[in-house]
Symmetry: C2
Subunit: 114 residues, 2 copies
Amino acid sequence: MIDYNGKNYVCRLDFAMDFIRGKWKAVILCHLYKKPKRFLELQRITNGISQKVLNEKLKELELAGLIHKIAYAEVPPKVEYSLTTEGRDLTKILKEMENWSIKYYPHLEVSLIQ
Amino acid sequence: MIDYNGKNYVCRLDFAMDFIRGKWKAVILCHLYKKPKRFLELQRITNGISQKVLNEKLKELELAGLIHKIAYAEVPPKVEYSLTTEGRDLTKILKEMENWSIKYYPHLEVSLIQ
DNA sequence: CAGTATCCTACATGATACTG
DNA sequence: CAGTATCATGTAGGATACTG
């Protein structure tokens, strides 16, 4: 049993997995791997996430220390999100998850609707 | 957009992560890493999972090809769960998740309860 | 452009009791 | 021992409208 930040985990893996729990966090991290991205860019490429949830997840990721947020003092506003070292390390592991799926499911059907 | 088994994924990572989505699947896989385990053993060590959910998750993991189930024809019944090659490969990545958390959170507080 | 606020729904999980 | 069935609940996520 692990207690952290008022949350409760049955083991260390449970704790680790909590950083990327849900449908979107891992996807967002991977989209930030190559280069920083703006809010709207992220929303477009993550393909289906709602504005509300994207914001929630970005906040959680920032609070967890996995991403940086830089808000430029411009009009219209410009905000950029990027990976921290910690987040980059984690995202490398997510890339391995992708590779695992390529190994065992090389021929995934990709639908035309997109 | 990826379609697979009637499910819908926004990208390959989303597809891969679906194999271990939720609180329990990753934990179960890791518990099977060293050696096969029986149902009750699993329930004891996963510390808090309900019987119903453990069964659901084991079924899903088996259907996904990540674990094997062997039922011995004995009374009382004896059933053993073990990792497939595919599942073992995936679990290795989960171990890296654990290592990541050890690197960045070396001193997790462990509560006395349990 | 980058958010926030409100309301709603579906689903994952828990609790409990029962069975071959 | 290893399940299944039933019911209840919390929360993640979606839809939509609004704001600095």
